[in-house]
């Protein structure tokens, strides 16, 4: 018995660690009720300053003050716009967007026949294309490989915005060191009409605009999916707000099921980058990640 004492203790210890890990469950944002986007936004605005107030030891007193003086979303938005040098932001549009995104929550089935007809080469065995992409839903553009496209001089315009308002709900999951990065209204880059050139992808557009506006953006190339992966914008990275967080993009209120480098832009497209804290469920893009 004495000989096996160490083994027994080690076994008990392993069992204990496993039990604790099982009940802890992981560091993801726990959502108690299904998302109602509008009520959430209202909750942000009222709840958010108190969150900042809790943090008394911070030196960002100026940030806190500006937060406390402005008390509603509209006021903040207008402020943001005035500073943005004549940016053609459509305020109403911005305010209404969350409502619209609810419609895209209806799970859109990928249509194989439609995708094939459009020219997507789908492997009959896996039901996916060369870069592991499922067929796109009917009426949506198919992925275009960046190596096959030629960028021409003809210029067009589209709308680009970068938002992270879902973080405002979950500030306690975010590291205190990063609180200063989250704008009080969650808008990192307001909806702006921007120019792009024929044949460019969403990634080209984002990279150029972020560079131009001196907003930090990091990406990684993933050859497996033949696309860039956006790790972080404005120093807000994937996994910063729990294990299910990261950046997603939608074009014309649809979350494409393929990477940013493979979405070819068209005139008048509305491109939005949104931060999700719950694998897309909180922004309405869960279906693009293969969720039910």
């Amino acid at each position: 018995m004495k000989k096996h004492k160490g083994k027994i203790i080690a076994g008990i210890l392993i069992l204990f660690v496993l039990t604790v890990t099982y009940f802890w469950g992981g560091n993801y944002v726990k959502v108690d009720k299904p998302h109602n986007k509008d009520s959430q936004i209202n909750a942000d605005i009222s709840g958010e300053p108190s969150l900042i107030d809790k943090d008394e030891s911070k030196e960002q007193s100026d940030d806190v003050e500006s937060l406390n003086t402005d008390d509603d979303l509209d006021g903040l938005n207008e402020d943001g716009e005035n500073t943005e040098s004549g940016a053609q932001t459509d305020l109403d549009k911005l305010g209404e967007k969350p409502k619209k995104s609810e419609s895209s929550e209806v799970v859109e089935e990928g249509s194989e026949s439609y995708s094939k007809e459009k020219g997507m080469i789908i492997d009959t065995k896996t039901g996916k294309d060369k870069y592991l992409t499922d067929p796109v839903p009917e009426g949506k553009p198919i992925p275009v490989e960046p190596q096959d496209t030629v960028v021409k001089d003809a210029s067009y315009t589209c709308t680009l915005s970068v938002r992270c308002d879902t973080i405002l709900d979950n500030m306690d999951y975010l590291d205190e060191a990063k609180w200063e990065l989250v704008p009080e209204d969650g808008v990192i880059f307001p909806a702006t009409k921007v120019t792009f050139y024929e044949g460019e992808s969403v990634f080209n557009l984002l990279q150029r605009e972020m560079k131009k506006n001196k907003i930090h953006m990091e990406f990684r190339n993933t050859p497996m999916y033949n696309s860039a992966y956006i790790c972080g914008i404005n120093n807000l990275y994937e996994f910063d707000v729990g294990e299910l967080s990261g950046w997603m993009y939608k074009v014309n209120d649809w979350f494409p099921n393929y990477g940013v480098s493979r979405y070819k832009l068209e005139e008048g497209d509305v491109v939005e980058f949104v931060y999700t804290c719950d694998l897309g469920r909180d922004v309405g893009g869960h279906s693009s990640l293969g969720g039910e």
């Binding site: 990279q207 560079k211 001196k214 930090h216 990091e218």
Partner: protein, 296 residues
Amino acid sequence: MRDTFSDYHPIVNFVYFTQVLVFSMFFMHPVCLGISLISAFTYSIYLNGKKALKFNFKYMLPMLIITALINPAFNHEGATILTYLRDGNPLTLESITYGIAAAIMFVTIISWFSCYNTVMTSDKFVYLFGRIIPGLSLILSMTLRFVPRFKVQLKIVSNAQKCIGRDVSNGSIIQRAKHGMRILSIMVTWALENAIEIADSMRSRGYGLPGRTAFSIYRFDKRDKYALIFLLFFGGYILIGYITKGLYWKYFPTMRGVRFEPYSMSLYISYLALCLAPVAINIKEDWKWKAIESKI
């Protein structure tokens, strides 16, 4: 230049090195890194003289520069964008400074370990832990002694091979490689055999059995007591300071933290006092020795 700190009780040596190593690994505040680096270099030069100086400049400095350069190539976090790299990701000030900080920490730890190896000889380590964890302490002391012993043995084998014209410096390139392989195989055999021999000889001496006593020349006297109290007091104070964010510093997304507030200043000074304690003891002892000498 005798190291008086080595003559202190092993527990004092061990507590000192544990504190210094742990603090160096966790404190990323620039001032703390600087204090630790300077202290480690000073003490290693005091202990090993010219050899340490040469080692520090020949290996540590290039390693520091390379490690500092690697970080911004892979880490693009940080709010201050300096320029953009070729692949399109930003090069940020924070990633560069963090790279430098990490490189300094890396070099400092290596330097502290070189001091540790000189001061904490294996008999001291086995004296401290032989009773509590006999198996593990023997393994640890063997592992920590492995590289220096291997180096010495390598020289012996290499010289012996040279006598019969089979060293790595003899013959054409292919022959040299062959000789090198032979020496390596000899060394590996030696190392394995040696480890088994040590284990066997320790067992035959009854190492780790209950009731076995061990002779030791260490005595815990008054100066050890004072030194231990000094180390524990300052170590505790610095630890409390660290927990209460008196040494707080963040690199990402923007560099911020405590600077030269009185509380932090007291922590820096305590940290410096802690790190330089052996050097101070040595200098005092050297001075004492000289004073006695001149009287005669």
